[in-house]
């Protein structure tokens, strides 16, 4: 996807979005509500047409070659609605057949793991169970690309763990997964690369290691003399001083200078850790709140 723009009336849902998902990787797609994740996914699926920019999906055009490309992918929408009169089992089989094949063995395994009763009618399932129906249908399909829009929203933590395990063990195997998610632990555990979207643009993209490198490291230290001088070090942010305790964030490429500045102060203890994904994420969220 490059330079994607999509507007709905006055709202600009996508504002020049660039993103790439490599074959065989699990790509995390993060962003606050309304950032444009679902819109981007629907363009990739050929359900919406972009106003400008270009998209290529599995080497084809998702709009004009939708049918052929859809044979090779499975999609789980964020808000799964089922046909009220069809049973969960019927929906799983139907979607599998419409995609062009279902792995019966994997289906049986998934039904068991996700503990789903396939004989209940669509209208009687809870949100979590509707989600399971669509997930099982997608995970059991013989496809090379999975597009999952917040697939574990509505699942309990036990089922979430099952999902992680299944993706890790059975699905990964050469398949490409685009995983839009809010569950950061899930993204951190599963994804090779991550893109963070905000207001219709990608604001960060790369492996978790790269992202961490690009961003700030948290440092907290206890020193014997007045630490106020740390504030002069370029790249230090969010400095907080309580007597001899000091906490700050420092741009990762300036970490060395910060440590040098700390050394003469008589370091009694020093803790430094790379930012968690949550911190990366919060940083971009908070910018938005401030604006």
């Amino acid at each position: 996807m490059s330079g994607l723009v999509k507007t709905f009336g006055a709202t600009r849902a996508l504002d020049g979005l660039d993103m790439e998902v490599a074959t065989g990787e699990i790509h995390g797609f993060l962003g606050p509500n309304g950032a444009g994740k679902t819109t981007a996914i629907r363009i990739v699926l050929g359900l919406l047409r972009q106003d400008s920019g270009s998209v290529s999906l599995l080497g084809g055009d998702p709009w004009s070659e939708a049918t052929e490309l859809h044979r090779r992918l499975a999609y789980v929408p964020g808000d799964v609605m089922l046909w009220p009169t069809l049973t969960g089992g019927e929906v799983i089989d139907l979607l599998g057949r419409l995609r062009g094949g279902l792995d019966e063995e994997r289906k049986a395994m998934l039904l068991e793991r996700f503990d789903l009763d396939p004989t209940k009618k669509g209208r009687t399932y809870s949100k979590g169970n509707r989600q399971k129906v669509a997930l099982i249908a997608a995970l059991a399909s013989n496809v090379e690309l999975l597009i999952l829009d917040e697939p574990t929203a509505g699942l309990d933590p036990l089922m979430e763990a099952q999902f992680r395990e299944v993706v890790e063990r059975d699905i990964r195997d050469g398949r490409t997964v685009l995983l839009a998610s809010h569950i950061l632990a899930e993204v951190e555990a599963l994804c090779d690369r991550v893109s963070i979207v905000r207001k219709g643009r990608i604001v960060e993209s790369g492996t978790l290691a790269e992202l961490r490198h690009l961003t700030r490291t948290n440092v907290s230290a206890e020193v014997s003399s007045d630490p106020a001088a740390i504030a002069q070090v370029p790249g230090v942010h969010e400095l907080r001083v309580h007597d001899h305790r000091v906490e700050f964030e420092v741009d990762s490429d300036r970490l060395g200078e910060a440590v040098k500045a700390l050394a003469p102060l008589g370091v009694r203890s020093l803790i430094s850790h790379p930012p968690t994904l949550e911190e990366l994420f919060m940083r971009h969220y908070q910018d938005e709140v401030v604006e």
Binding site: L47, G89, L98, R99
Partner: protein, 533 residues
């Protein structure tokens, strides 16, 4: 009554959500009778002219079946006969559809749950919907009463007409309320309620048509029969009003009783488990569409077939009319004798059936929109299903469905008429032919619905506006003396009146081309537009 807490707020919510929809119902249901009366004043200004009109219809079971008996030849009496009973069916439809929309629909969509967690009593949504429907009924009644009195008609008759409509709304608010309680599915509830309306109308038709064969008691069983028993302008039988009142109280009481015993979201009948695996037919979009549409298809086919049976049975009565009214034998001769009159009757009957079939065609096509808005279309469209294939999977019910239903209705009209005249299969080919002649006009409605779906999906409900407009143009356009060009706007006005008239191919071909063009435009539009959520 803590279970009714919040009713007033819910009433305001309903009025806010449906302010356009309800205004249209009130105006159409209230003004059409008044406009009809006003037209009759211009058309039949003298007592003699009304006498002449009455003589053609008064003893005819065929007309009785269509419209109910004529009691009085004042303008008010003619209006009550021409529009009263038919209009009351639409009052009943308004009542049941509004009831289910604001009870089970909300419950199925989960909106009821959201309300239930606030300060809203268990019975408040049901009570609010009933109060709104009753209020609409009263407003419609008020417009009619005021309008008729304004046109100089008797106050007693006008009041009976208005009160009758108000109480039909009350009685069918009860039917809608009970239907909404029975199953978890709003569409099944709607099916039960509309089916009850249809069945009640059939009972009335059979009762009024079969007065000579000892079936007249059936009229008393149907809430629609009570309208003619009330005899507005024809020596009002005021006590009949208590029948609706009683019927409404019993059904509404039953609805509250069921509602008190069930959980939010649940039906009176528990859902049954289904198959764990899909059958062989559920493997492509057409299998899915058949699964989703078969219930409605069978229901509509049976309902329309039943109407056909009643029409067919009524056909023979035309001959009796001829014998009893020598004064009109002459006119009948001009129309082609007894055969001609019977044929005219059947053309009219087939025309009305075609309107109902068009309603089926529209709802079948609009299932596409229901699937899209319900976020189920995206499951299918994200698989290897081309857009047009998915569109056709439902569209086919609007194209081929009418063929099958009209054929069935034609056969049933023919056989039922044949049984009466002692020649079972004799009339069948002619009447089936007449029914098939209506197809191009029905397809125009299919096309309108598809074109709106493809090009302006937010406005698909306008399809129903077209149907109502065509219905009013056909049924009332001539009475109200609309200019010819407005009458010609309806595709049904271009259908040759087979079997009474010669079959003309040209108008049919043009209508088919228009329908095809509209369907094509809709398909192209849908292929190009975003799938909407």
């Amino acid at each position: 009554m803590t279970t009714l807490v919040g009713t007033w707020s819910l009433i305001r919510l309903i009025l806010r959500r449906d302010r356009f929809r309800l205004t249209v119902w009130i105006l159409v249901l209230g003004l059409v009778p008044v406009m009809t009366a006003s037209a009759f004043i211009g058309l039949y200004p003298t007592e003699a002219s009304r006498q002449a009109l009455a003589a053609t219809v008064v003893d005819s079971p065929a007309f009785n079946a269509l419209l109910g008996p004529l009691y009085d030849i004042s303008i008010g009496g003619l209006t009550a006969w021409r529009i009263g009973t038919l209009g009351s069916v639409f009052v009943a439809l308004m009542a049941v559809l509004t009831m289910i929309r604001h009870t089970r629909d909300d419950e199925e969509a989960g909106r009821r749950e959201l309300l239930g967690s606030t300060v809203v009593g268990h019975h408040a949504p049901l009570a609010a919907a009933i109060i709104v429907v009753v209020a609409i009924g009263l407003l419609v009644g008020l417009i009619i009463t005021a309008g008729m009195v304004g046109l100089g008609e008797a106050l007693t008759g006008s009041l009976a007409f208005g009160l009758g409509y108000a109480l039909v709304a009350f009685a069918f608010a009860g039917v809608g309320a009970v239907s909404a309680q029975l199953t978890e599915s709003a569409s099944t509830g709607r099916g039960i309620a509309v089916g009850t309306v249809g069945f009640a109308f059939l009972l009335r038709m059979a009762g009024d048509a079969g007065a000579d064969s000892g079936l007249s008691w059936l009229t008393w069983v149907s809430p629609f029969g009570w309208f003619s028993k009330l005899r507005p302008f024809g020596g009002e039988e005021w006590w009949v009003l208590s029948l609706w009142l009683l019927f409404g109280l019993v059904t509404i009481g039953a609805a509250f009783a069921i509602s008190a015993r069930r959980d939010v979201g649940a039906g009176a009948f528990p859902p049954r488990p289904g198959p764990a695996e899909a059958g062989a037919t559920l493997g492509n979009p057409f299998g899915l569409a058949w699964r989703l549409q078969r219930g409605a298809f069978i229901g509509w086919a049976l309902g329309i077939g039943a109407i056909g049976v009643v029409y067919g049975a009524a056909g023979d009565s035309i001959g009796d009319l001829l014998e009893s009214n020598p004064q009109f034998a002459e006119i009948f001769e001009q129309l082609g004798g007894e055969q001609g009159i019977t044929d005219t009757f059947f053309s009219a009957a087939v025309g009305i059936i075609a309107i109902i079939v068009s309603a089926y065609a529209i709802r079948s096509v609009l299932r596409l929109r229901v699937e899209e808005e319900g976020q189920r279309a995206e499951h299918v469209l994200a698989t290897a299903t081309p857009r047009l294939r998915w569109a056709w999977s439902h569209l086919v019910f609007g194209v081929a469905g009418p063929v099958l239903i009209l054929a069935l209705a034609g056969i049933l009209v023919g056989v039922s008429y044949g049984l009466v005249i002692g020649d079972v299969w004799g009339p069948v080919p002619r009447i089936v032919g007449a029914a098939m002649t209506q197809l191009p006009a029905v397809w125009v409605l299919t096309g309108i619905a598809m074109a709106l779906y493809g090009l302006a999906p937010g406005f698909v409900a306008v399809s129903w506006g077209f149907l109502v407009a065509f219905l009013l143009l056909g049924q009332l356009g001539q009475i109200l003396q609309f200019p010819q060009w407005t009458l010609d706007l309806s595709p049904f006005s271009h259908i040759p009146m087979v079997p009474a008239e010669e079959l003309e191919a040209m108008p049919l071909v043009i209508l088919v081309l228009i329908a095809g063009g509209l369907i094509g435009a809709g398909l192209v539009g849908f292929r190009r537009r975003d799938v909407d959520f």
